[in-house]
């Protein structure tokens, strides 16, 4: 008789935990859905149809994605174990350069968006405050699974990784940087990044 309240409270506790987990998962899904919608609304905006407006569209996208993704987090994560070898100035420069590299590459790419449909899948909690949201981009010839990994911190959700067909962006860059940093110093890596980012700024889009 005495154990019953304990059992009941345990059941309620687990119920509350699982419900809160699913509530969190739903929040994550909502966050991704709203964010993707915001990006799509900029991409679909007829005001930016002209070539001349492309740069303005890019600026707007930059500002938006900086609020949706945690670039600081991504930059540190991408260096992996080697982040401790960087001084704080080097770290700042790296973060800045890497953000620009990502923006140059990926924003350029999505600016070529032409009405592909996005289907939202489910959200799964990876830990207490991290979730993975599955989506799919449907084009004429294929369906591409794109998963977003988001983290809830300081009262807001932010993205920290994108997986395209199972390939994690962060992991891909991290293995590249690890490979380079095994043989070269942080300064060499920064130099390589500077060259890459600055050369792309000069190049016009094909």
């Amino acid at each position: 008789m005495k154990r019953q309240p304990v059992i009941i409270s345990l059941i309620l506790f687990f119920f509350a935990v699982s419900v809160s987990a699913s509530i969190q998962a739903d929040e994550a899904l909502d966050f991704v859905r709203t964010s993707v919608d915001e990006v799509l609304s900029i991409l679909r905006d007829p005001a930016y149809k002209e070539e001349s407006a492309r740069e303005i569209q890019r600026q707007k996208l930059c500002i938006l994605t900086e609020s949706l993704f945690d670039y600081n987090e991504i930059s540190r994560s991408v260096l992996g174990r080697y982040r401790k070898v960087f001084t704080s100035e080097q770290m700042d420069e790296f973060s800045d350069l890497f953000t620009r590299l990502l923006e140059k590459t990926y924003l350029n790419k999505i600016q070529n968006y032409t009405d592909e449909k996005i289907i939202y899948g489910k959200a799964t909690m990876l830990s207490a405050n991290r979730a993975e949201v599955e989506t799919e981009a449907v084009t004429a010839s294929k369906q591409i699974p794109i998963n977003y990994r988001v983290i809830y911190r300081h009262g807001e959700w932010r993205g920290y990784d994108v997986l395209i067909e199972g390939v994690s962006l962060v992991r891909n860059y991290r293995s590249q940087f690890n490979n380079i940093l095994q043989k070269k110093s942080p300064e060499d890596l920064l130099q390589q990044l500077r060259e890459k980012v600055n050369s792309k700024e000069g190049a016009t889009t094909e």
């Binding site: 600081n72 987090e73 540190r76 994560s77 992996g80 174990r81 080697y82 401790k84 070898v85 960087f86 001084t87 704080s88 080097q90 770290m91 590299l101 990502l102 590459t105 990926y106 790419k109 830990s127 991290r130 004429a140 010839s141 294929k142 067909e165 199972g166 390939v167 994690s168 992991r171 891909n172 860059y173 991290r174 293995s175 590249q176 940087f177 490979n179 380079i180 940093l181 095994q182 390589q192 990044l193 890459k196 792309k200």
Partner: protein, 262 residues
């Protein structure tokens, strides 16, 4: 006699791969000695450290050795040249002549006709439900979808399980990746996946078209058609990477790992 020898070779190869993979991991672990912490402690607290270290551990398991790196880089450079000088112009030209819906239907046809590969590997991995789904899809697309050109089964997600190939079957049986190798024209692969590709060859109906050069012609057409539908993907990954060779290696390994998992 010949069959016994092939089976034996196959078994030895598989054994060799799984053993080699274990040695490879040890070598990798030794290589990965933590660098000296010369940088000052950053002011921002390392609250990330806990779960980031977990991520890194998870990654070291998926490392694949690259003893042939110099050769691989050379073949990678060759493939790059081949893509830009030969494959892409041909695919582009073909893309101008054939409208996209037509090319998509051709792709559907080739995908459909690879059914034996999927079926055999579903069975070998004891995924009988998938074998059933793949069979349903094949029958449906070949009849209602007119020889596979159309893909009416595509609307039903339960008729479209993830596709299996021999490389994935070997992985499910516990065979390790072995080492990384870049195949001419075919691109990134591993020892296990290359063996898988060789086995797949015998399961594909296209391989039995005679004369032999017609079979190769059909394969080339398939490749050109596929490329015409995905121009830009190779360039994007190459552009976004600091070290394209390594980026492709890592992306391939991650991609295959995910395919095996599904």
């Amino acid at each position: 006699m010949k069959r016994k020898r092939t089976a034996l070779t196959f078994l030895i190869l598989a054994f060799f791969i799984s053993v080699y993979d274990a040695d490879c991991l040890k070598a990798f672990a030794q290589e990965m000695s933590l660098p000296d912490e010369t940088g000052k402690e950053t002011a921002v607290q390392d609250e990330y450290d806990g779960w980031m270290d977990d991520l890194e551990e998870e990654e070291s398991v998926s490392h694949v050795c690259d003893p042939l790196e110099i050769l691989n880089r050379a073949i990678f450079a060759f493939n790059d040249l081949f893509y830009f000088k030969v494959l892409k112009p041909v695919a582009r030209g073909y893309g101008f002549i054939a409208p996209e819906p037509v090319r998509v239907k051709v792709k559907n046809f080739f995908c459909n006709i690879d059914y034996p590969v999927r079926l055999v590997n579903d069975i070998l991995q004891v995924k009988f439900k998938r074998a059933g789904q793949d069979t349903c899809r094949f029958v449906f697309n070949s009849t209602v979808g007119i020889l596979g050109f159309f893909d009416p089964a595509g609307k039903y997600s339960w008729l479209n399980p993830p596709s299996e190939d021999t490389g994935q079957t070997l992985a499910t049986w516990g065979v390790g990746n072995g080492f990384y190798i870049v195949l001419p024209i075919l691109g990134p692969s591993t020892l296990r996946d290359s063996v898988g590709l060789a086995c797949d060859y015998f399961l594909q109906p296209v391989s039995y078209v005679r004369p032999f050069y017609t079979s190769m012609g059909v394969r080339s057409y398939d490749i050109v058609n596929d490329t015409s539908l995905s121009i830009g993907e190779y360039e994007d990954l190459k552009e976004s990477a600091l070290d394209p060779y390594f980026a492709f290696k890592d992306a391939y390994i991650q991609y295959r790992k995910e395919a095996v998992r599904k």
